[in-house]
């Protein structure tokens, strides 16, 4: 019993709207991650960045969306985020003689303060760390959605 393959009709309105909204959602996610004073943080910004890619996959299909986010770039973002955060954490454990003090203690990092602003060393490190979280969350959610949504050739209804 061979299933019939229907021709997939393209819808112009949805495709043009997705093309316009895709960079704006990315910009909004970046603002939430490291915007004025840091409203939000790593997890919240990362999921909004992933939502833009998920919209693109839903409209265009997995074959065309693979060109936007190939496999090697996905794996690079996943490991880069983890490397940033875990590197910072293990350096702090090492320099505090395994006492596990705060993560962003100003005594460990060889970064200079802003002149006149106390505590700004930990400010820079917090930004670096939350960017790391955002990259890992985005790449991980996009890769999970790719895996759950692809179909082999020959199965019913693929594209």
């Amino acid at each position: 019993m061979t299933p019939e393959k229907k021709e997939y009709k393209r819808d112009v309105i949805i495709e043009v709207t997705t093309d316009l909204m895709f960079p704006l959602i990315l910009l909004f996610g970046l603002y939430i991650m490291i915007g004025t004073g840091g409203t939000g943080g790593g997890f919240q910004g990362g999921t909004i960045l992933a939502a833009a890619y998920i919209l693109y996959i839903t409209v265009y299909g997995t074959d065309k969306a693979r060109e936007k986010m190939p496999e090697s770039v996905n794996a690079l973002f996943k490991s880069l985020g983890l490397f940033l955060y875990n590197g910072a954490g293990w350096i702090c454990v090492l320099f505090s003689l395994a006492a596990a003090q705060w993560l962003n203690m100003p005594a460990f990092w060889p970064i200079t303060d802003f002149v006149g602003v106390p505590g700004s060393r930990s400010f820079l490190v917090s930004y670096m760390v939350s960017v790391g979280i955002g990259l890992t969350v985005m790449a991980s959610f996009v890769s999970q959605y790719f895996d759950l949504a692809w179909k082999e050739e020959g199965e019913r209804g693929g594209r």
Partner: protein, 149 residues
């Protein structure tokens, strides 16, 4: 008796609402037969629990009693809160539940991947039909083969 009802049920209505959603979703996990519907019940259960914990830390004026406090603002510090007399909401439950939300999302994704593999092997997602197929194959003495190869 009326005093007990007003004090413990009407003033603490947030806990009763969260408990109601927990009861409904917990019974959905047990009763339903489709595997996907059970997963939806699990996700709703985790979300209702986070609602219960985050509502413990809210500070502000209640609807049914008046204490004369201003309502709480979100925990982002700003300088005019001292002049107007606002009070910040407790940030501790928000911090502890953020990791829980992410764990819930990751668990749902892995569970969906397992449901995909079950569908490829048995050909159906209903629980009772899977049990019938297993009993049939045990009687014949063979193994379950892939249903969509």
């Amino acid at each position: 008796m009326v005093d007990w009802i007003v004090q413990h049920i009407l003033e603490k209505y947030n806990y009763w609402l969260a408990m109601l959603i927990i009861i409904i979703s917990l019974s959905a996990i047990v009763v339903k037969e489709n595997l996907l519907k059970k997963l939806i019940g699990l996700s709703i259960f985790q979300t209702a629990f986070f609602l219960w914990v985050v509502s413990l830390g809210d500070v502000g004026r209640n609807i049914f009693t008046t204490w004369g406090l201003k309502t709480g603002t979100p925990p982002i510090l700003w300088k005019e809160a001292a002049e107007k007399g606002y009070i910040y909401v407790n940030p501790l439950p928000h911090v502890l539940m953020l990791t829980g939300i992410v764990v819930s999302a990751a668990t749902t994704a892995v569970a969906l991947a397992i449901v995909i593999r079950i569908y490829q092997k048995y050909g159906t997602v209903e629980e009772s039909e899977i049990i019938d197929k297993e009993i049939e194959f045990e009687r014949e003495g063979g193994e379950v083969r892939n249903a969509t190869d």
